[in-house]
C-alpha cells in the first residue's frame, strides 16, 4: 500500500506552479509529435507518410502489422511499384502492386491496374463498380521503406480501445505524480 499512499501524498503536495509546469511539458510532447507528423507529410509529399499493413494480401512480403513508409514524388508511376491507393466508396486505403500502366501521349495521364502479390486475381473486383483503372488522383503514395511488426501497436489500440484508455490513464498518472 506504500505506493498508493505515496502517490496520493504527492498529489496532495503539488502546488499550482508544478501543475502548470506539467501541463506545459505535456503540451510540448503533444505538439512535438504533431510537428514530426506534419514535417514528414511535408517532406514525403504524401498525405499519410506512414501506413500500417492491415491485410495479408501482400504476403509474404508484407504481413499484417508491418509498417510502410510512403513517398509521393512527381516521378511517373511504373509497373512493380507498391502503391497505396483509395477507392471511391471505401474508407480504408489499400497497399498493392502496380501490374499494368498505360500512359497517354501529350497529357501524360496514367491508367494503372494493381494486384496484391498474394491474391489470385487483379484488383478490378475491389475497385468501384465498373471501374477498370486507377488514375493518378487515387494514389496516395508509393512504398519506399519497410519496418516489421511496429504497426501492431496501432492495430491493437484500434481494435481494443480499452487498452488505449488504460495506457493513456497510466501515462497521465505518471506525469501527475512524477516530481521532475
Amino acid at each position: 500500500m506504500g505506493f498508493v499512499a505515496e502517490t496520493l501524498d504527492s498529489i496532495r503536495k503539488t502546488n499550482v506552479r508544478q501543475i502548470l509546469l506539467q501541463a506545459v511539458s505535456l503540451g510540448m510532447i503533444v505538439t512535438s509529435a504533431l510537428i514530426i507528423w506534419k514535417g514528414l507529410m511535408c517532406f514525403t509529399g504524401s498525405e499519410s507518410p506512414v501506413v500500417v499493413v492491415l491485410s495479408g494480401s501482400m504476403e509474404p512480403g508484407f504481413k499484417r502489422g508491418d509498417i510502410l513508409f510512403l513517398h509521393m514524388s512527381k516521378a511517373p508511376i511504373r509497373t512493380g511499384e507498391i502503391v497505396v491507393f483509395h477507392v471511391d466508396g471505401r474508407e480504408i486505403p489499400i497497399v498493392h502492386r502496380v501490374i499494368k500502366v498505360h500512359e497517354r501521349r501529350n497529357t501524360g495521364d496514367v491508367e494503372v491496374l494493381t494486384k496484391g502479390d498474394n491474391n489470385a486475381g487483379d484488383d478490378r473486383l475491389l475497385y468501384a463498380q465498373g471501374q477498370m483503372w486507377l488514375q493518378r488522383h487515387h494514389i496516395m503514395g508509393r512504398a519506399v521503406g519497410f519496418l516489421p511488426y511496429v504497426g501492431w501497436v496501432t492495430i491493437i489500440m484500434t481494435e481494443k480501445p480499452y487498452i488505449k484508455y488504460i495506457l493513456i490513464g497510466a501515462l497521465g498518472l505518471l506525469v501527475i505524480t512524477s516530481k521532475e
Binding site: 509474404p60 512480403g61 508484407f62 511504373r78 509497373t79 512493380g80 511499384e81 507498391i82 502492386r97 501490374i99 499494368k100 500502366v101 498505360h102 500512359e103 497517354r104 501521349r105 501524360g108 491508367e111 502479390d117 487483379d122 512504398a143 519506399v144 521503406g145 519497410f146 519496418l147 516489421p148 505518471l174 512524477s178 516530481k179 521532475e180
Partner: protein, 168 residues
C-alpha cells in the same frame, strides 16, 4: 529518481534506440552491395493474336525466362519479387507496360530461374494496336528487405515483334 518505473523506462528507451539504429545500419549496408544478375528472355511462340469482343487486341505468348539472380540476395533480403513486363508505344499511349509473368523468390537457392511459361496476366492493349507491334521485354526484380529501403533493378531486352496478322 531510482524507482522501478524510471528504470524500466530507461531500459525500454535504450532498447528501442539500439533496435532503430541497427535497422538503419542494416538498410544502409544494402547500398554497398553490388550484384551481377544474368538474364535472358525469349519469345518461343506467339500462340494467339486476336481482337477481343470489346475491340482490344490480345496476345498470348510462350516465354522462355532464364535468370540467375542469386547475387542480388543480401543478409537483409526477405524476398525478390521478379516479374517480366512487355513495354511498347502506340499512337494513343506514349508508354504501355503490361506485366506478363511474376514470381516470388524467398530463398537464394531458388533465384536461378529457367522456365517456359505462357503469360500469366493478359497481354491486352487499350485499342487494337498489337499487329506488327514492336515491344521490349523487361525483367524487374523488386528487392523487399527484412527492414529498411525497398528498391528495384531491371534489365531491358529489345527487338521483339508481334505478327502482322491475327492468328484467328
Amino acid at each position: 529518481m531510482h524507482s522501478f518505473v524510471f528504470r524500466a523506462n530507461a531500459v525500454l528507451t535504450f532498447g528501442i534506440t539500439v533496435l532503430a539504429a541497427l535497422c538503419i545500419l542494416a538498410s544502409l549496408s544494402d547500398s554497398f552491395h553490388s550484384s551481377l544478375p544474368d538474364i535472358n528472355l525469349q519469345v518461343l511462340n506467339v500462340d494467339v493474336l486476336q481482337r477481343l469482343s470489346n475491340g482490344n487486341d490480345e496476345a498470348k505468348l510462350t516465354l522462355h525466362i532464364s535468370a540467375d539472380l542469386r547475387s542480388v540476395f543480401t543478409w537483409n533480403t526477405k524476398q525478390l519479387f521478379v516479374f517480366v513486363a512487355a513495354e511498347y508505344e502506340t499512337q494513343k499511349n506514349q508508354l504501355n507496360q503490361v506485366s506478363l509473368w511474376d514470381l516470388i523468390v524467398e530463398r537464394k537457392e531458388d533465384a536461378k530461374i529457367d522456365l517456359r511459361r505462357r503469360n500469366k496476366y493478359g497481354f491486352v492493349d487499350q485499342g487494337s494496336n498489337l499487329r506488327g507491334r514492336e515491344f521490349n521485354l523487361t525483367m524487374y526484380w523488386n528487392v523487399m528487405p527484412l527492414t529498411g529501403g525497398i528498391f528495384t533493378g531491371s534489365k531491358v531486352l529489345t527487338g521483339f515483334r508481334l505478327p502482322s496478322e491475327y492468328t484467328r
